[in-house]
């Protein structure tokens, strides 16, 4: 069981920080890879888990939802939309879009504050 003592007094979601974290995780996992149907399952799992690990290390009292979509580039279209009912002063979201020659990746991070 991991244990943690929250120390952060500011409850504002830093989207830029989350953006950088997620972008680095995507680069680490997908990097120079080509789309592979057999591996995409472990790729998406690795991206979301590494993103969550690093977000938790920021030490803020947030619940996190991380969603990742990886799609093969074939000319077909994909649209993603989100809508949230929450406290806009403390909660926040960040979306990272990434692509290479053979695939597109969209990662959404939603952070919901815990008021202790």
């Amino acid at each position: 069981m991991e244990e943690f003592h929250p120390h952060n007094d500011e409850m504002i979601f830093n989207a830029d920080e989350a953006h950088n974290i997620v972008k680095e995780c995507i680069e680490n996992v997908l990097g120079k890879a080509d789309y592979n149907h057999n591996k995409v399952n472990q790729w998406t799992a690795a991206i979301v888990e590494q993103s969550l690990t690093h977000l938790v290390k920021l030490g803020k009292t947030y619940k996190y939802i991380v969603t990742c979509a990886v799609m093969q580039r074939s000319g077909a279209g994909l649209h993603t939309a989100s809508s949230c009912f929450w406290d806009t002063t403390t909660d926040g979201t960040c979306t990272v879009r990434w692509e290479n020659r053979t695939m597109n990746c969209i990662v959404n991070v939603f952070a919901v504050a815990i008021i202790l």
């Binding site: 943690f4 991206i47 888990e49 969550l52 009292t61 929450w86 959404n108």
Partner: protein, 167 residues
């Protein structure tokens, strides 16, 4: 479009400080994964210690209604997309509208102290491969999600609604 296989969530363990403070009141957040068969499993956990020792967390009086929300998702996706063909411009607006409508209908269920996150994907059926996964660090006793997939001859849509209890 589903989560990763069971047991894949080992990455989050092992980073935090450990102590012998198990007597203090704590909020337990757990990392939940969803397998490809829709089973929910705990793959890791994180305990946050409360700064105020007397604070009590009673939990929700009424839990997030997963089945009712799934019904809303089926209804909204079906009525919005049943006869539709994929077109980039209209589907872009449709994705936004669908997310807003789902949020409004879930809000109308008036489940107390729940924050709602709705994510909607609409894509063209073009023979391409696609994987959508999500992971949540939350309290599985109170937080949960609903999901629905819709498909016709020209497009597919995936809608997820996450209900997060406001501690």
């Amino acid at each position: 479009c589903a989560g990763a296989p069971r047991g894949a969530g080992r990455g989050i363990e092992g980073w935090a400080k450990k102590g012998s403070l198990s007597q203090k009141p704590a909020l337990l957040l757990e990392l939940c994964a969803v397998s490809q068969h829709g089973d929910r499993s705990r793959v890791a956990s994180l305990r946050l210690f409360l700064p105020k020792p007397g604070l009590c967390l009673a939990g929700p009086a009424r839990r997030f209604p997963v089945a009712a929300v799934e019904e809303i998702l089926r209804d909204v996706l079906g009525s919005a997309l049943r006869e539709r063909r994929y077109e980039p411009g209209p589907c872009l607006e449709a994705a936004k509208d669908i997310a807003e409508v789902i949020k409004a209908r879930v809000k109308a269920l008036a489940v107390p102290r729940y924050k709602i996150v709705v994510v909607a994907h609409i894509g063209q059926l073009g023979g391409q491969s696609l994987q959508i996964s999500s992971r949540c660090l939350w309290d599985p006793k109170s937080d949960t999600f609903s999901s629905c997939v819709f498909k016709n001859t020209s497009l597919f849509a995936v809608a997820n609604v996450y209900g997060v209890y406001f501690e």
